[in-house]
Amino acid sequence: MNFDLTEDRQMLQDSLRRNLGDKYQIDHRNKVAYAEPFHDPAKWGELTELGALFALAPEAAGGMGGAGFDISVVFEELGRVLCPEPVLGALMASRLMTAAGADQEALLSGETRYAVGLGELDAPYDLDNITTSVSDGKISGRKSLVYGGQAADVFLVAAKDGGSLAIYEVAASDASVTGYAMMDGAGAAEVVFENAPAKLVLADAGAAIEDAVNAGIVALCSEAVGAMDVLHKMTVEYLGQRKQFGRPIGTFQVLQHRAVDMLTEIEQSRSIVIKAAAELGGPQASRYASMAKNLIGRAGRLVAEEAIQMHGGIAMTWEYPGSHYAKRIIMIDAQLGDTDYHLMRVAQAA
């Protein structure tokens, strides 16, 4: 048994922490995360030059990683700085392209930005009920909340092709893309296709999509752990500094115990993500991904709400960094299936 990172992953973590910490100071992060194009194209370039995307794909696909733990290391660091770059789309696109055996040099180098359109307005989590379809090489339909869609060059889109799900590639220039900022910063888009030219990437793509979603869940959960860890440390630091009634509020036992409860939930979160990352790509991947997403949805709400409450008014302000961490942690629950959705998946599979 060994829960240490390998030397390579430790180096990756160190290099990302150093670089991202400099690049995404909170003021700069908030500036780019809430103004078009809702990320920082120059810093996206620098991030990809660090090889962050190569860590997300296996060697056979031209990458240098691709295991659950590689994904986890990258996204935990992104979470620590609330990085608004569209890395999730790149990861999920890479999983799909790996399954298809497609060349992904342009994706991994960061030269071409990919976004993945799965969910729809009336089918946000459950892909059985999507209506986007392809006929004679033309795609029609609408994808909602396409993360990173506002900055994408290419979309990989789940569509009904006859009876089964398939993945098609559509150029952003062939779609109608309406980008916007999200509540917690960074961008997404409503993407509408009207008889747009679509290139088949993968037929019978159900299993590949499930793998891409599982990888996305490992990524989001790792991001949440990074963000929760930072927010918790910020809260504990504040408890030590803020004085009321003549002493630091951290000397009040009621707050001490609540800060410990947060810590307990974060440790549980870290554990379930390790399990989900270990199982990624294996036969039990979906089960453990769902467990992780459910636990982190619950832990995230506790950590975010308690952090705000224990800070008091200051964490209700835009100016205080903690408020942005709380928003991100809460909103992660609604990406790729929420607490309840994944609870049912675990229950039904048992």
Partner: protein, 395 residues
């Protein structure tokens, strides 16, 4: 035991309901429904509508121009106002300063300020919290020094709600630094247009602007702007903390949220069915409904006690704690119901025909985050627990 309202009270409820149906303008109702920020114009127009009817100052006795209601009538009014999607009455002049002047103010102060509160001439805001004095309010540092016929005021207040619209601010100021904290505080009225008063906006977590910082630099106001006795301001502050607290559970607002949550769940789809048919979501709603049902009775029991004893007791802190938590749960459910479609920043999709949330729900995430304030302000839920520990448990 009789859980029914009297026929007179039921008739009053109908009267209030009819009043709102006939007099609340559609644009105001829609603005409340959509849950965004209400501008000054809407609030002033709404206040004027109530004032015309004589129902604006819900806590004032008839002698000062109020309707002279008891706790039960106020409760009925609050509920019906919530059900009608009426805005909340801005409380600083009407719910706070008014009662203070009625109890502690001079005849001249009452005659001058009270009518101006009613007719909207003066918009008041509250100068209590400071950066270093939140839960520990008595440690406030804003200094007022007497200089002949004037006070000279220096310091800073914060979390000043709607201070950007205010003409006047009532402040707790330190007037004696050499005595026990609570014994050196005075309650002083300050015209916001006095030189040296500066208001700076605070942007909130969800991006809105409702609170401000207010800075005072050598601000000179007449000595007569003191309310009550010098150095007795803490008594006034405590009076306000216990005055008319029966409305703080916000039961009407939570009942409305329950209905809104149910309606929303019928309109959004999950796993190929309306969310209302999802057993887990239905269970979450039912859980919140059960808590609310008990809260309704807890609230009525405390109303009854207040009616009987003439004043609410310290147990109203229970209403603040549980009322805010229940309302926050509904805010969570309405955000959760939308799934990822709660994510667009408010206003992002306006005018695009690409709305992802059913009408009236595009601000659900913003509302959820904004509403976290309710367990922090007005004496945080932790402070309410301290009050209950002392008063109810005797510990």
């Amino acid at each position: 035991m009789d859980l029914n309202f009297t026929p007179e009270e039921e008739a009053f409820r109908q009267e209030v309901r009819d009043f709102f149906a006939e007099n609340l303008p559609e644009d105001i109702r829609d603005a409340v429904k959509n849950g965004g920020e209400l501008g000054k114009e809407i609030i002033e127009r709404y206040h004027a509508i109530l004032n015309k009817k004589g129902w604006l100052a819900t806590t004032w006795p008839a002698e000062f121009g109020g309707p002279g209601w008891g706790p039960v009538e106020r409760h009925i009014f609050d509920e019906e106002a919530a059900f009608a999607y009426a805005p909340r009455i801005v409380p600083f002049g009407l719910g706070m300063l008014g009662p203070v002047l009625q109890k502690f103010g001079s005849k001249e102060q009452q005659d001058h300020y009270l009518p101006r509160i009613l007719d909207g001439t003066d918009w008041w805001c509250q100068g209590y919290s400071e950066p270093g004095a939140g839960s520990d309010l008595a440690s406030l540092k804003t200094r007022a020094v007497r200089d002949g016929d004037e006070w000279v005021i220096n310091g800073q207040k914060t979390w000043t709600t709607l201070g950007q619209h205010a003409d006047w601010i009532f402040c707790l100021c330190r007037t004696d630094a050499d005595v026990k904290q609570q014994e050196g505080i005075s309650f002083i009225l300050i015209d916001m247009s006095t030189p040296g008063v500066e208001v700076r906006p605070i942007k909130l977590i969800e991006g809105g602007h409702e609170v401000n910082e207010v800075f005072f630099t050598d601000v000179r106001v007449p000595y007569g702007n003191l309310v009550g006795e010098e150095n007795k301001g803490w008594t006034i502050a405590k009076y306000l903390l216990t005055h008319e607290r029966t409305g703080i559970a916000g039961v009407g607002f939570s009942m409305l949220e329950l209905e809104e949550t149910r309606e929303l769940a019928k309109k959004v789809m999950r796993n190929g069915k309306p969310l209302s048919e999802d057993p887990l979501f239905a269970a979450r709603v039912a859980q919140a409904e059960i808590d609310l049902e008990a809260m309704k009775l807890t609230n009525l029991r405390m109303l009854f006690t207040a009616q009987k004893n003439g004043a609410p007791g310290p147990e109203t802190s229970i209403l603040k704690i549980k009322g805010t938590v229940i309302n926050q749960e509904f805010k969570d459910l309405r955000r959760r119901a939308l799934g990822p479609n709660a994510a667009p920043f408010p206003g992002s999709l306006d005018g695009s025909n690409l709305d992802v949330a059913p009408a009236g729900n595009a601000n659900n995430a913003a509302r959820y985050f904004n509403n976290r304030k309710t367990s922090i302000f007005g004496g945080s839920n932790e402070i309410q627990r301290n009050i209950l520990t002392k008063t109810m448990l005797g510990l």
